[in-house]
Symmetry: D2
Subunit: 278 residues, 4 copies
Amino acid sequence: MLRFLTAGESHGPELVAIVEGVPSGFEIDPARINEDLARRQKGYGRGGRMAIERDEVQIVSGLRFGRSLGSPLTLVIENKDFKSWQKRMSIDPGDRGEAVPVTRPRPGHADLAGVLKYNLEDIRDVLERASARETAARVAVGALAKQILAPFGVEVLGYVVSIGPIESRTPDDIGMADMRRLSEQSQVRVLDAEAERAIIAEIDACKKTGDTLGGVVEVVAHGLPVGLGSHVQWDRKLDGRLAGALLSLQAAKGVEMGLGFRAAALRGSALHDEIGYD
Amino acid sequence: MLRFLTAGESHGPELVAIVEGVPSGFEIDPARINEDLARRQKGYGRGGRMAIERDEVQIVSGLRFGRSLGSPLTLVIENKDFKSWQKRMSIDPGDRGEAVPVTRPRPGHADLAGVLKYNLEDIRDVLERASARETAARVAVGALAKQILAPFGVEVLGYVVSIGPIESRTPDDIGMADMRRLSEQSQVRVLDAEAERAIIAEIDACKKTGDTLGGVVEVVAHGLPVGLGSHVQWDRKLDGRLAGALLSLQAAKGVEMGLGFRAAALRGSALHDEIGYD
Amino acid sequence: MLRFLTAGESHGPELVAIVEGVPSGFEIDPARINEDLARRQKGYGRGGRMAIERDEVQIVSGLRFGRSLGSPLTLVIENKDFKSWQKRMSIDPGDRGEAVPVTRPRPGHADLAGVLKYNLEDIRDVLERASARETAARVAVGALAKQILAPFGVEVLGYVVSIGPIESRTPDDIGMADMRRLSEQSQVRVLDAEAERAIIAEIDACKKTGDTLGGVVEVVAHGLPVGLGSHVQWDRKLDGRLAGALLSLQAAKGVEMGLGFRAAALRGSALHDEIGYD
Amino acid sequence: MLRFLTAGESHGPELVAIVEGVPSGFEIDPARINEDLARRQKGYGRGGRMAIERDEVQIVSGLRFGRSLGSPLTLVIENKDFKSWQKRMSIDPGDRGEAVPVTRPRPGHADLAGVLKYNLEDIRDVLERASARETAARVAVGALAKQILAPFGVEVLGYVVSIGPIESRTPDDIGMADMRRLSEQSQVRVLDAEAERAIIAEIDACKKTGDTLGGVVEVVAHGLPVGLGSHVQWDRKLDGRLAGALLSLQAAKGVEMGLGFRAAALRGSALHDEIGYD
C-alpha cells in the first residue's frame, strides 16, 4: 500500500514528498515527472511566478540505476525563488526582524482558520503551507504513480470541461490518445477548439477587470483492473477514496463520479436511455 | 481520534460497529440513536422491508449508567428478519445446500466487481455486505457522534433538496430549528410543501411504471469550532475528509462543499454578488 | 492487511472483535477458535471464574457456509456471569445506585492512570476494560488468523519456559508436533515433566501464603514465508511489529527475539559457537 | 498525533525524515539535534566512517524564525561520503555498469530476506536501506521530539548498562543530571568508571581478534504526565507502543519495561521486598 507525506512551504527552500510502499523493480524516469510538473505550470493567463520557476524533481532516495528499490522514494522540488525569500522565510530566530507580517486574512482561504487553530500571528505562517504550490509535490507523487501503473496498461489523464460559464464539448467516441493530443495542444487544456477561443476571450476579459474564474476538470483512467477499493468496509470504498483525495486539493469544491449529479436529476429509465446501456 | 469499523451482512443476524476513541463522561442515550435509525427507515414509497423492521440499537460495551467510559462502544442492530434467512445465511458448512445462488450481477452495484475481486460464485456473498443496509450501522455511529457534539452546541442535520427533476426551495434566512421541524414534517424530507406534493406525485408515477429516482441531500452543521481539519497535510484537509466519508455511502455519486460546482460557473465578481459577501 | 478492534468490559454482556481484511474463501471453524479459548482458561491454580465460564465464540458476520466472504468477521464471546453483574454494569442511568465503587487503585495496574486520564471516579470504570479478560477477544482473533495461515503450512504454538524461579528445559531437536503434544499434556504447559512437578509445588506453596508468580512463554512459528515485515520503513520491521503486539498484552513486561538478551552477553564468536552456526 | 516517515540509502545523497503533526509555536534548535547526532556517532572502537562524517541536520520545512509552524518538518542529513559513491549509487540507468554487486548475504541481516522479498539481484539494493545508518534520521526525529517535550519538564536519556559480559552498575539514588553527566563523560556511555575500564579492555581484545560485542541500554524518561497510552484498545497500550518502536531498531533483539524478565523470576513477595514498595 502506497502512503506519502508532503512537506515544504511555498517560499521555503524546497517541497519534499516521501513516498512509502513503492514496489521494487519499476523504471522511474524523473524526466516524465518533470513533464507533469511542467503541465501543472502551464495555463493561459497564469501569474508571473509560474513562468519564472520551471519545477524539476530530484529523486534522492529509493531509486538506483533507474529502478525502484522497494525503499521509500524522496522527491525534492527546489523553490527557485527561495533566494529572494531567504531572510523572510529563514529558520533562524535572528532573522525574525526581517518578517513583513501578513495580517489580513483572505476569505475562502485557510488564513483565518489557520492562525486561530495554530495560534499564529503572521498569516504567512499559514499561507505558505496552505498554498496550492504544495500540489507540485502531489503532482510529482502522482506522476510517479503513473509510471508504476504504465507497465500494466493503465493510463490516467485529465482535461478541462469548463472554465467559468463556458463549457467545452468532449467529442463523441474519442479515445485516450486523441484526448491526450487535443488537451496538450490546447492553451486551456480543452478538447474543443471553439470553446478554447471563448475561454481565452473570457480570461482576457477577466484579466482586464481583475476578475477571477473557476473551472471543472474531468479525469479519466483507462485500463484499470476490476476490483479496486472494496465494498466490505466504509473506508475502503473506491468512490470515497477518490473523492477524499480530490477534495483535498486546494480550491476544489465538488467531485462527481460517473454521471454524478446528472444522475440524480433523471428517472432511472431516462438515465438508462441517455447512457445507452443495454 | 474516533475510529470505527462496521460489520454485518444485510440478512445476517446483526449489524455491528465498534467505535474506538469515544471520550469518557459523555451522556449517551440509545433512544436518541434509535430516533436516527427510525428516520433512516422513513421515506415515501420505500420498500416493504423498511416497514417490517424497526431498527433498534443495543450498546453492549463502553457505556455504564448512561455515560461513556472511554472504552470502545459496541453498537449492535439486530436484523429482525434473520429468522427467515437463518438457513440461507448460515455459517454452518452443512447448510450449503440451502443456498439459492444469485448469478446475475446488477449494473451499477458491487456485484460483478465483488465476485471477481473476492473469487466468489454466489453474488449474494457480495451483495449482503455491499447493501445499503450497512448504513444502518453508520447512522448509529453518526447518531452517537452527535451526542458527543451536542454539549458543545454543535448540531448537524440534513434534508432533501431534490428528488429526480423536482427541486425543493430552501426558505431564505431559515434557522436550524425550522429546518429540523419542516424536514421532520415532510414525507420526503424537504423544506418546501409545494415541492413535496410534486415529489410525491413523481414517486407515485415512477412506482406505477417501475421506474426509479435519485436525489440530492443537503447537510448543515452548526456551532462547529474554527479549525477542524488542517491545511498542513493532504490527508487532513477538512473538505477531503468530509468528501471521502460522503462518497463512501452506497449510491452516492457526487459531493459539493459550499457553493460547489455553482462556484465554477461564475466569475469571482458575480459569485461575490450572489453570496452577498462584503 | 488485517486490522481489528476489540471491545467489551470484563463483566459486561460480551466481548467483541471486528476483524477487517480477512481474505475470502478460507474455511473458518468456530470449534477451533473455541479450542484456543479453552486453552486460555486452563492453568494449574487459576481462580474460580476461569472454571465457571467456558468461553465460546459466536461468529455473526463475514462467514457463510463455513467460508470467509472477504467481509469483516465479528467474533462475539458472551460473558456468562453477566447475569450477576447486570445491575452493577448496567448502561441505564437509573441503575447508578447499584454501583459499589472501587476506590483503591492496585499498583502495577491501569487503575490510577486510567481514572486520572479518563476523569472517572469509580475504578471499576477502568479495570473492567483494562482486565486481562480482554485477551479472550484477542485469543479468538489469533485463532482465526491461525486458520487463515494453516492452509499455507504455517503453524504457531506457545509453551511455558519458566514460572517464577523454576526453568523448564526444552528438549533438544524437538519438533512442532512433540512440542504441541507435551505442552498440551502438561498442567502448566511446559515441555519438561521434572520442571512441571517443581512448578506445581511452587504454585501450591504460593497459594498457601497468598503469594504470586510470573513466568516466561516461548512462541514458535513454523512454515512462514521469507520476507514478512520489511526493512524499508521503521514501522514495518517485523521485530517491531511482533514486539508491539506482544507487549500490548496485559502484564507482559519483556520480549526477546531469537537469542534476545543472551546475545548481548556474549562475544560474537561465542555466540557463533553456541548456536552452532556454520 | 505525530507521524513520520524516513527515507534514504546509507550511501545515497541524504537521509530525510518528514515529521507530521508537530504542534506550532515550539522552539526548535537544529544545534540541539546535532548534539544528539554527534552522540550517535561517538563510541569507543567504532569504525572509520563514523569519524569522517559529522552528521548535521538541515531543517527545510515547518520552521520559521526558530519556531515550528504546525506544518510538517523536513529533516535532511547529507551523507558526506556520497561523492565517492555517486556512480555506484546513481539513479541514472546509464551508470548501471558502475555497480559492484554484493552477492553474499550476511547472516542475521536483512540481506537474504530483502533480495527475496523485493526480487533484487544486488544485495546492496537491500543493505543500503536496511543499514543502521537509517537510525541517524530517527535520532534527528527523536531529538526534535525532545525539544517539544522539554518545555513541559520532560527529559529523556539513555546510557549503557552492559557491553558483552561486562555489566555496569547504576549508582543508587542517582538523579537525571548525574546520569547525564556521567554517561556523557564515559567513552562507552556507562555510569560506572570501573565497568568502563573493563569494557574498554574487552573492546580492545575483540578488535584484536576481529570479534564483536553487543550490549544493553537503559532509557529513562522523567517528568512525563500520567496517562500516556491507553488501556482501552490493544494498539494504544503504552508498553506495546514503546516496545514496537524499540524493536524496530536495527539489531535490537529484546526489550524490557520496568523490572522486565527479572519480575518473572521472583515470587510477588520477593519482588515487593526488592523494589522496596510499601
